[in-house]
């Protein structure tokens, strides 16, 4: 159970991360604000409470793996990593600039601290499934967290990966691992209901999403993705479900800046300087 004090701390942290996101996007004049702001609470919860990770020893074999499938929300990943101590906060201002480690979509050549290079949608879950299978084969207990957007469920490959994630796995030789499910995989869907061209239910309807996913033999739960108590409780349940889990996290795209909230136009719209200042003021006063 999270204490009120811890929740307050996390809220302050998430607010700082949101400010960093706005500053980065204003500085570079491109990028995707909607999903990045909406997922700031989940990233904060992961990096400041849930993930096994060590910014001082970032490639430790003991770390949990975090796969960001929808690479376009990487400003929230970069900002959270910087606030966690992986690199200096000043570096955030190099986002999307020539020779920056912080490429427009994550690239391991430039930033080996990310688990995968990503960008094209619908491919992260397959890679996360591969990691979870590979770790299981080595009797490793690390968890694999795959962060996805709801828009990625338009892609056929996502469903190919879900079929595999729900498959029964054989026991490993010498009693190393019982037959069972891919229980070290936790998928978190940013269910913000928007994508580039409009609302998800207008572009290509996903509902009833929970029922669809349950039919894939997975443990499915729904949370408010902008509520720390629900995030922590939901992921804890997912960690101990005995099968691959999907956390449908209902988030508000653009969360924290009223003008951006729930408006699909802010999925990938540039924030000009003036709007950016207003947004920073709004975040400072909250």
């Amino acid at each position: 159970m999270l204490s009120q004090e811890k929740i307050k701390d996390l809220e302050i942290k998430a607010n700082s991360i949101r400010k960093s996101i706005i500053e980065m996007l204003v500085e570079v004049g491109s990028g995707h604000p909607g999903g990045a702001l909406g997922m700031a609470d989940i990233f904060t919860a992961l990096y400041f409470g849930i993930l096994k990770h060590d910014p001082k020893n970032p490639l430790s074999e003991k770390r949990d793996r975090l796969v960001l499938s929808n690479g376009h929300i990487c400003p929230v990943l970069y900002a959270t990593m910087a606030h966690s101590g992986y690199f200096p906060l000043e570096e955030l201002m190099t986002l999307r600039k020539l020779n920056s480690r912080l490429q427009g979509h994550p690239h391991r050549d430039f930033l080996p601290l990310v688990e995968t290079s990503s960008g094209p949608l619908g491919e992260g879950l397959s890679q996360a499934v591969g990691m979870a299978l590979g770790l299981r084969l080595d009797d490793k207990k690390n968890k694999v967290y795959c962060l996805m957007s709801d828009g990625e469920f338009d892609e056929g490959q996502t469903w190919e990966a879900l079929l595999l994630a729900g498959k029964n796995l054989p026991a490993l030789p010498n009693g190393r691992e019982q037959a069972g499910k891919l229980e070290n995989l936790i998928i978190i869907i940013d269910r913000n209901k928007i994508q580039l061209d409009g609302n998800t239910e207008d572009i290509l309807p996903l509902e009833p999403l929970k029922e669809k996913l349950e039919a894939f033999n997975l443990n499915v739960l729904e949370i408010d993705g902008n509520n720390f108590e629900e995030i922590f409780n939901g992921i804890e349940k997912a960690q101990n479900s005995g099968k691959a889990s999907i956390v449908i996290a209902h988030t508000i795209p653009g969360k924290g800046v009223k003008e951006f909230e729930n408006d699909y136009k802010w999925h990938g719209k540039t924030i000009d300087k003036e709007t950016g200042e207003k947004a920073l003021n709004e975040l400072s006063s909250s």
């Binding site: 793996r65 796969v67 690239h107 391991r108 050549d109 688990e115 995968t116 290079s117 990503s118 960008g119 094209p120 491919e123 397959s126 890679q127 996360a128 499934v129 591969g130 990691m131 979870a132 299978l133 590979g134 770790l135 084969l137 080595d138 490793k140 056929g156 490959q157 190919e160 990966a161 079929l163 595999l164 054989p170 490993l172 030789p173």
Partner: protein, 328 residues
């Protein structure tokens, strides 16, 4: 005459030359690699028997992953496994992998720099009666444009085994191209093989043309070279089993000896072995080149021998094309 240093099959030019499935060589290599390295894992998209991975699966069932008919997932899952230290062999037919999942190979494997081996079987015309839909004639071109990707096209079962074992020892993305039909044994266990080092299989005393080829179709090139030699036209046959990284020194050195080059491939002329050779020569030693391969069209049903003849890849057609090219 055959290059003695290559220790090739002595019965190579006999009518009853032994034939073997190149896929069996891959399967044997995979088993051996798997025995030596516990990180070798194998994935397939519902083609376990077709791609001859049975021996591996039987011995190491826990290291085998059936992903179903889902080639995009196949290579991306393989990439994830490589991220945690595995050496995955992602097996399917070339038309589907790398045919169907090119962008996943580009982003998840090459751009992401993961140690995944793509095995594309049933490539080229040899898939025969199944027809044009299943004849991958574009796979080398697709893989050649990807940074980091290496491409190996073994000429027979024995070379396929060596290539498979060598791939495990090379870190990084690689593509291995195999065909369906049995093909003549050209090499022996003692023949040299090293990824990136092209081998001279045949060399006449006064070569007038350098014939560069890869894969089992090189057998037709050898038959043709022997016939030409009998008619007083000398040649060199180079087995360019690695299309990438290409053995540029060897190509330039031999081109300087002959001043004429013919490339032969069971693949589109556009973007394949011939194009790769042309890129090297155009910059370094520009000389006339004749490209023998598929000329911007799709294949069709027929038995492989008929198809090779129809598309000008049988040894007689090759001999004629070379003679015309040399003005003989």
């Amino acid at each position: 005459m055959l290059n003695k240093n290559q220790k090739l099959n002595k019965k190579l030019f006999d009518k009853d030359v032994e034939k073997e499935l190149i896929r069996n060589g891959f399967g044997d290599g995979l088993l051996e690699a798997g025995e030596k390295n516990k990180n070798v894992v194998v994935l397939t998209a519902d083609l376990r028997e077709s791609v001859k991975i049975d021996k591996f699966v039987e011995k190491f069932p826990e290291r085998f992953f059936e992903v179903g008919i889902a080639e995009q997932n196949l290579v991306s899952v393989a990439s994830g496994m490589a991220s945690v230290g595995k050496i995955p062999f992602a097996t399917s037919y070339a038309i589907f992998s790398p045919g169907r999942n090119w962008e996943q190979i580009r982003t998840n494997i090459c751009y992401n720099n993961t140690n995944v081996k793509i095995i594309g079987s049933h490539a080229g015309l040899s898939v025969g009666p199944d027809g044009g839909s299943h004849q991958a004639l574009e796979d080398i071109a697709l893989m050649r444009v990807l940074p980091r990707m290496q491409i190996v096209v073994p000429c027979d079962s024995i070379e396929a085994k060596k290539a498979t074992i060598a791939m495990v020892k090379t870190d990084g993305p690689q593509y291995l191209r195999l065909i369906r039909e049995k093909s003549p044994l050209i090499t022996t266990e003692d023949s040299p093989f090293e990824i990136g080092k092209a081998n001279i299989l045949f060399e006449s005393e006064n070569p007038q043309v350098l014939i560069i080829s890869c894969g089992p179709i090189i057998y037709n090139a050898l038959i043709s070279a022997k016939k030409l030699e009998e008619e007083g036209i000398g040649s060199i046959v180079l087995n360019l089993h690695t299309i990438k990284p290409i053995d540029r020194e060897k190509i330039i050195e031999l081109a300087k000896k002959t001043n004429a080059v013919v490339t032969i491939e069971d693949h589109q002329i556009a973007g394949g072995l011939g194009s790769a050779v042309a890129e090297v020569l155009a910059e370094n030693f520009p000389i006339p080149i004749r490209f023998i391969g598929i000329k911007d069209e799709f294949g069709q049903s027929g038995n492989p021998e008929e198809l090779y003849k129809h598309y000008g890849l049988d040894s007689e057609s090759i001999t004629e094309t070379i003679k015309k090219f040399l003005g003989k």
